[in-house]
């Protein structure tokens, strides 16, 4: 039994060390790639695959989040005759938390799954070894463009999710429940600060970065055969999902501390 615990501990430590080494290498190579113009074609390609093709699904996600929040919150606010404050509740939630987090989770599934499957298949068919055998750093060629595309475009995708979330809430609040339009926007504008927008959008850099690194790492280290690739995709999604939640918690604590220390509140409601 002690032997098993020892083996397990060594494996966990080895994998953790391997992951951080891979992440460090990915970060270094990404900086190098970012400042090498001849690699921009690779980055554009990944930006299209990762960013542009994700826009529709991200917009749909954002719209539904806004609409569902509006439906759920209306009855409770109406019970206190506060239904005109619906915009504040929906928009603060969408801008600060639900928009970024659900967009991140959606990207972990769509983009992360695709990255792991693609790189995993390349590993199984020895294409990654082929890149290395030709004297090309595989992390530089395969990971860096994907990492940069995720890092730079996840905040943009979050803007799309938030925009559609705000519109979705407005359509339900004003169009369906009949709340006065100008009151809806006035309360929303008073409740949502620039700080909330900065906080929501900047989460995208962290979510995008962690999705790319985890997905690429799992692809690079996947097991043999179709089962190995499938398992790697599942592990990548689960790890990305948990990481997004954990990072979100840490960021909320940090942002709140910064807010209370440096930001001058503009007055809520």
């Amino acid at each position: 039994m002690f032997e098993q615990i020892g083996d397990k501990t060594i494996t966990v430590l080895h994998n953790t060390g391997d992951f951080w080494r891979f992440s460090w290498s990915g970060l270094k190579q990404s900086i190098h790639t970012f400042f090498t113009p001849r690699n921009y074609d690779l980055i554009w390609t990944q930006m299209y695959l990762i960013g542009v093709l994700s826009v529709p699904i991200i917009m749909v996600t954002g719209a539904f989040v806004g609409m569902i929040l509006a439906v759920q919150a209306y009855d409770q606010l109406a019970g206190m005759n506060l239904e005109e404050h619906l915009g504040v509740l929906v928009n603060v939630s969408v801008v600060k938390e639900l928009g970024p987090v659900l967009a991140g989770v959606m990207l972990a599934g769509r983009v992360g799954g695709a990255l792991t499957a693609e790189l995993g298949t390349m590993r199984v068919t020895e294409q990654i070894d082929a890149v290395r055998s030709m004297g090309v750093n595989a992390v530089y060629y395969l990971v860096a463009p994907r990492f940069l595309a995720c890092l730079l475009l996840t905040p943009v995708l979050i803007i799309f999710a938030v925009l559609l979330g705000v519109l979705g809430g407005y359509i339900i609040g004003v169009g369906y429940f009949g709340i006065n339009s100008s009151a809806y926007w006035e309360f929303s504008a008073a409740g949502v600060e620039m700080w909330d927008l900065v906080m929501g959008i900047s989460k995208g850099f962290f979510f995008g970065g962690i999705i790319a690194i985890i997905s690429c790492y799992k692809g690079f280290n996947c097991g043999e055969g179709a089962q190995g690739v499938g398992r790697a995709c599942t592990e990548a999604f689960v790890a990305s999902f948990i990481s997004i939640l954990a990072i979100n918690f840490i960021l909320v604590v940090i942002f709140n501390t910064l807010y209370h220390t440096f930001w001058i509140p503009s007055g809520l409601i």
Binding site: E126, Q127, D129, A130, R132, S133, M134, V136
Partner: protein, 282 residues
Amino acid sequence: MQTESDKNTNTDFEAIIRLENITKQFSNKVVLDNLSLQVEKGKTTVIIGPSGCGKTVLIKMMIVLLRPNQGEVYFDNERIDNLQENRLKDFRTRYGFLFQAGALFDSMTVAENIAFPVLQHRRKVDKDELDEIIKIRLALVGLDGYQNHFPASLSGGQKKRVALARAIALDPEVILYDEPTTGLDPIRSDIINELVLKLRNRATSVVVTHDMKSAYKIADRIIMLHEGRIIADGDADYIRDHPHPNVQQFIHGQASDDDLAVLRMNDQFHHPQYSPRDFQKQ
């Protein structure tokens, strides 16, 4: 460990690749066991052995795609197994590697696959020059005109030939072939063998195979691996008459008495789904 009696080659030659006391293990399984080997410059060295004996691990170690747990790897008298990935670049461009299944990039055309190593290592190469390089390499493997095909539309033999064209794109000093004829029909296998022979004047070749016909045809020297060790090392005639029972069993493609005993024992336990009559009908 390789003994003097296993060797029938003169080791007084210029070695381009040298492996010294290599041990490689995965989990608890020892794949290569304190193995030493020198590859002669300008010659074709063929490594044979049964599946799982460590041939592919050995050839990947020569280009440091895998690193040994113990021992040292030298290329052109410089130790390379302890170099970091970035510093291996200068050595790896002096190698060409033909992977077992080709390992062509399926998102790229044939031309883009061959252009890949050139574009990665030459800062300035104009389009006409690049087209010429691609055309020459493809003509060498008999596939000029396939520039715009994607790997998915090629047959197994064509994929290997394109992969070979890519492997020689940078005019390497050493070409490593990992089971180049596996999965091909005898005619396609012979085409690959002829290509290996055609390229012997351009580079040193190391071929991993279990195809004895191919080995006899292309080898200057044959090395047989068994359970992670070299059990025979010499030219084709030496291997053909080697007294070691594992060598004779392998080159004649015979199952061992132990394997046959296991198969006969299994005959006693029918799978309930089948009866011997099911097979007699055929």
